[in-house]
């Protein structure tokens, strides 16, 4: 169904993006209200499949939502907070980080990405769209998607280095 299928897809994207149920609900609502308001435009342009079109609105609503939220948020980094709490338990290099903590750390690192980088990463890594599709959704060039993606992966990759030891992940201590 038009509404049924799309609401689930958009909610799940918005949730993966914000990691917050209420935020994802807000994005879902905003997406459908915008969809309704833009329907005239869709009919005129008519260049794309309807579900892709709604999905694109959902992506843009998510990015806008996060931008607004980031502007409001006080200036402290979740990452610093994380380092002070969980991170400090791992000051002993003999210890390796558990999977649950690693998951939490990755989640914080993804949250630290800029709204657009975060979306590029989610669309590629978790939703598994091609770079070409992402470029269409984000209305930018494939080159720009590649750059964003590289930066996002680098931003996640570097801080994790010190936590990944040979014991768990086959990595040499660096």
């Amino acid at each position: 169904m038009l509404f049924e299928q799309n609401r689930k897809r958009i909610f799940s994207l918005a949730y993966q993006y914000t990691k917050n149920k209420e935020d994802a609900e807000d994005i879902l609502q905003e997406t459908f209200i915008k969809t309704y308001n833009y329907l005239d435009k869709y009919k005129v342009e008519n260049e794309t499949n309807f579900s892709s079109w709604i999905y694109r609105i959902g992506i843009n609503c998510s990015i806008d939502y996060l931008r607004k939220k980031k502007n409001k948020k006080e200036d402290f980094s979740d990452w610093d907070k994380w380092e002070k709490t969980i991170g400090s338990n791992h000051s002993n290099p003999e210890h390796t980080i558990g999977l649950e903590q690693l998951r939490e750390k990755i989640s914080h690192l993804v949250e630290e990405l800029s709204p657009r980088q975060r979306m590029t990463f989610i669309l590629k890594h978790y939703q598994q769209f091609s770079i070409k599709e992402i470029a269409e959704y984000l209305d930018c060039s494939e080159g720009s998607v590649k750059k964003q993606l590289f930066r996002a992966v680098s931003a996640i990759r570097s801080p994790l280095k010190k936590y990944l030891w040979e014991k768990d992940y086959g990595m040499q201590k660096i």
């Binding site: 169904m1 038009l2 509404f3 049924e4 609401r7 909610f11 799940s12 949730y15 993966q16 149920k21 994802a24 609900e25 879902l28 609502q29 459908f32 209200i33 969809t35 309704y36 329907l39 005239d40 869709y42 009919k43 008519n46 794309t48 499949n49 309807f50 999977l99 690693l102 998951r103 990755i106 590629k124 890594h125 978790y126 091609s130 770079i131 590649k146 993606l149 590289f150 992966v153 996640i156 990759r157 994790l160 280095k161 990944l164 992940y169 086959g170 990595m171």
Partner: protein, 235 residues
């Protein structure tokens, strides 16, 4: 300098986004460059870690809250209509008269329309994948409408239980399609308006008493919705 370029390519390669020649070039470079070889191994590990730590748990949204906000946002202030069933009986009776008149007028007018005009692109849904199909929408409406249209008040019949969320989804879907049709297809738009009325009654239906169920049944019959839906297939 060249290594920076290869480091970008490593990420693309792991996402399967590197062409054959570029991939060969990358592998050749890695064989001769310890730095990039380490980068490759580490990035591969990171991808593995990302996969291992991935969770697919998506919570269930509060659909009722979402639905209400969407409905209010879409309909704006114009929709502050009272429930149709809450009108006094005399109002209902005169409304029914008006329907008879309008439907009569409408069919009279239909006769003057060329077939091509009474048929919208939306009705051809499956031929044109660009548009969600009105016919698919009608198909998803039918089970709900038939359920109410077949209702007969008797002790053994009990009540009708329908998931309100399904009905709410149908309402939003109905609104979106109605707006897409706009004035291109007046006959289909009219059906969707009637459908909207009935679905809202079902969604707002508090009690499952025989009286309310019979009223919804009457509304479906008065408006000839199931008949209209069938006719729209053959146009």
């Amino acid at each position: 300098m060249a290594c920076k370029k290869y480091k970008e390519k490593i990420v693309l390669h792991l996402y399967g986004e590197l062409g054959e020649n570029d991939a060969k070039d990358l592998m050749a470079h890695i064989e001769g460059c310890a730095d990039c070889a380490e980068e490759f191994a580490y990035t591969q590990k990171i991808f593995q870690v990302l996969d291992e730590t991935k969770t697919d748990d998506i919570p269930e949204a509060n659909w009722e809250k979402c639905w209400n906000t969407i409905d209010v946002g879409i309909q704006g202030k114009e929709r502050k209509k009272k429930s149709f069933l809450l009108y006094p009986r005399w109002a209902y009776a005169s409304a029914a008269l008006l329907i008879v008149f309008t439907v009569g007028f409408f069919f009279g007018r239909m006769a003057f329309l060329k077939p091509a005009e009474s048929r919208s692109m939306l009705l051809e849904g499956s031929q044109s994948a660009m548009y969600p199909s009105i016919q698919e929408h009608f198909e998803s409406l039918k089970p709900v409408l038939v359920e109410y249209a077949n209702y007969t008040a008797s002790p053994e019949n009990g009540t009708i239980t329908i998931d309100k969320n399904i009905v709410r989804n149908l309402i939003i879907q109905n609104i979106l399609l109605k707006r897409m049709i706009a004035d291109e297809d007046p006959s289909t738009k009219e059906i969707l308006e009637d459908v909207d009325l009935v679905l809202r009654e079902i969604a707002n239906q508090e009690g499952d008493d025989a009286h309310t169920l019979s009223m919804i049944k009457e509304l479906i019959q008065e408006r000839g919705i199931l008949y209209e839906i069938e006719v729209s297939k053959t146009i």
